[in-house]
């Protein structure tokens, strides 16, 4: 095998310029794909990070049927007493979970005493919430980040539209589960930028205030936001938790809980999928570049060496070995292109990070690009290039191995 490699490499070096050009083409393709994967991956991770770490959490648990009715934020589908205890017991036993936070979600009317508008409120236990969605405090653009009972974090839309600023008094009016209307005065703690765009109407109050405002008897929770220690284990853990909670049944013998990962709760998942799709097409382009360039070179190599093929066939080289010789040439070219491409690509990603390029995403300004490429991605791209190189060499190599020595020797 070593001799086949020696002959293949010498044959490649025999046409230095052509080999260099082809390897360069593959290198450029690999560098381009690595750069695209690292930048788009960075953007995707940032976007997912923003969505999960500042609002949704990695996954959520609700009472069965809550998400289907989430537009109306139904208080009658809140989890209560025993169910909360059972759920928290299960969550506490999961080593994959870093933190989880109970929330009560409801709709209400927001008044500054002269004007009134609608608002979606999430009642939280700030200490637990900030552990589950650690970027939430970062969204406070004006005022304090520490939410205490009696305080409210209001969305930028209402702050601007109703000219309310931190320290102002506002009133929240909400309908409780029984249908009676209650009101409570709050002091604006801070103004938050929206995680979902400029039209966001989401505000935050303390869990104790929600209990008072909604006249809740005992503990009630609309949803649990869960943060995992390893984001990469999301799918596996989601399935595991789903399995565990499926065993928890209500009095009618039906499942009590439902588990949703962030992907099922946010429309940004579709953007993430679009990025994946674009990456896939970029990889397809790389495959096309490698396939065409290697096949072209190998067809030329076979054509130029017909008499040599005739000679080695005449002196007894078996067709399989002739096929191997040419396939190994393609393989070597693929390895060289992939290897150089990997080195240049990693260097490019490193330089991109050194340059600290900034960009804006929604309300987030000046996010620093943090391009990163995983070893798995490098190995996958390299393996793709090498496998495609071998596939591209197969047809010319097969042609060479099937040549009749007598005809090949006559070739001029």
């Amino acid at each position: 095998m070593g001799n086949l490699f020696k002959i293949a490499i010498r044959n490649l070096l025999r046409y230095k310029r052509r080999t260099l050009l082809t390897a360069s083409l593959i290198t450029v393709g690999v560098v381009f794909v690595l750069a695209f994967v690292s930048i788009s991956g960075s953007f995707k991770n940032m976007m997912i990070g923003q969505i999960t770490d500042s609002m949704i959490g990695h996954l959520q648990v609700h009472r069965k049927g809550f998400v289907a009715s989430i537009e109306t934020l139904p208080l009658n589908l809140n989890l209560k007493g025993g169910a909360i205890g059972r759920l928290e017991k299960i969550l506490n036993e999961q080593p994959e979970i870093e933190a989880y936070s109970p929330r009560v979600k409801f709709g209400g009317m927001f008044s500054n005493f002269t004007e009134t508008s609608s608002i979606r409120l999430t009642a939280i236990d700030p200490e637990r919430e900030f552990k589950s969605v650690p970027l939430l405090p970062e969204r406070v653009m004006d005022g304090g980040k520490d939410l205490k009972p009696g305080g409210i974090l209001i969305p930028e839309l209402l702050s601007r539209g109703m000219k309310v600023k931190p320290g102002d008094a506002v009133v929240i009016v909400a309908t409780n589960a029984d249908g009676s209307v209650n009101g409570k005065q709050f002091t604006v703690t801070g103004v938050m930028e929206s995680a979902t765009g400029p039209g966001g109407r989401d505000g935050y109050i303390h869990m104790d205030d929600a209990r008072e405002l909604l006249r809740m008897e005992g503990q009630q929770v609309s949803e649990y936001a869960i943060r995992l220690k390893e984001f990469g284990s999301l799918t596996a853990f989601g399935e595991k938790l789903d399995g565990l909670l499926a065993k928890e049944l209500n009095q009618q013998g039906k499942p009590l809980f439902e588990v949703h990962t962030w992907e099922k709760l946010s429309p940004f998942f579709n953007i993430a999928r679009m990025i994946d799709l674009m990456t896939f097409f970029i990889k397809l382009m790389l495959i096309a570049i490698v396939l065409i360039s290697i096949m072209n070179v190998m067809i030329m190599a076979v054509y130029e060496r017909i008499r040599e093929i005739g000679t080695i066939a005449a002196i007894g080289t078996l067709p399989g070995k002739i096929l191997s010789m040419f396939v190994i040439e393609g393989f070597c070219m693929g390895v060289a292109g992939a290897l150089i491409g990997d080195i240049v690509g990693i260097a490019l990603v490193y330089i991109l990070n050194l340059l600290k390029i900034s960009y804006n995403f929604g309300q987030q300004k000046g996010i620093i690009l943090q391009a990163g490429i995983s070893t798995a991605d490098i190995l996958m791209i390299s393996a793709t290039v090498i496998i495609v190189s071998v596939i591209a060499s197969l047809q010319p190599a097969f042609k060479a191995s099937r040549m009749e020595p007598i005809e090949a020797l006559r070739h001029v």
Binding site: N3, I7, R10, N11, R14, R307, E308, G310, T311, I312, A313, A314, I315, G316, T317, L318, P319, K321, E404, P405, I406, L409
Partner: protein
């Protein structure tokens, strides 16, 4: 027992619409360790006959046995294996592999065809390099040596597998007269040393006399056989 036995072999080609009969009812026998030449003008069938003996082609009719093997029955892979084991080739244009050194060219059949152990390879290649007088040129590439030297390397490559038979199609056609004689004498010396049968084709009347048995071909037929020390008809 004859090394090569041809009985009424014919070879037809189709060139476009036209059928060409390259060999017609040819029969002959060649003994082991012979030094044989096929002579005749261009188109007489010399190369076709060598190709058939060399298992590079198959007769249209007749039986051809080489080293006790009916070569007409061999498939593609078996033909290649048979050639690698039994036959050495010397080509008019030398056909050395340009990416291999002189040493590596000679070593090639042992390495890529026969899988001979390294020590044995080294022994055989070194012995042949010395025998053909190319030991001091072993690290040179084919484009760094002369035509005569290339043909000497080709002879060594043909002999390195210890074949029973070496076929040489116009081995001296691209060489000057002195070098051609030198190459033929080397072939004869190798025959004496290794007891290998050498068969070569030529249309050069001056070197034909070096052969011990001469088959004269004309229009695809053997017209006469001349053996040193006597004449006969084929």
């Amino acid at each position: 027992m004859a090394l090569i036995s041809a009985e009424h072999i014919s070879k037809d080609y189709q060139v476009g619409e036209m059928a060409v009969q390259a060999l017609r009812d040819v029969s002959f026998e060649i003994e082991p360790a012979s030094f044989v030449s096929f002579i005749g003008p261009s188109g007489s069938g010399k190369t076709t006959l060598l190709n058939l003996i060399g298992c590079l082609d198959k007769p249209t009719e007749g039986a051809l046995t080489v080293a006790e093997t009916d070569v007409a029955t061999l498939d593609r892979k078996a033909s290649a294996a048979f050639r690698g084991k039994t036959i050495g080739f010397i080509f008019q244009d030398f056909n050395l592999l340009p990416v291999l050194t002189v040493y590596e060219n000679i070593e090639y059949p042992l390495l890529m065809v026969q899988k001979v152990p390294p020590e044995e390879r080294r022994r055989r290649v070194t012995a042949l390099l010395a025998a053909v007088g190319m030991a001091d040129q072993k690290d040179k590439y084919p484009d760094q040596i002369s035509g005569g030297q290339k043909q000497r390397v080709a002879i060594a490559r043909a002999l390195v597998t210890n074949p029973k038979l070496v076929l040489a199609d116009e081995p001296t056609a691209n060489l000057d007269h002195a070098t051609a004689y030198m190459v033929l004498n080397l072939m004869k010396k190798m025959r004496d040393e290794f007891e290998t049968t050498f068969i070569f084709s030529t249309h050069d009347q001056k070197i034909v006399g070096e052969a011990e048995t001469i088959f004269t071909l004309e229009d695809g037929k053997i017209n006469g056989v001349k053996t040193k020390g006597g004449n006969g008809n084929g």
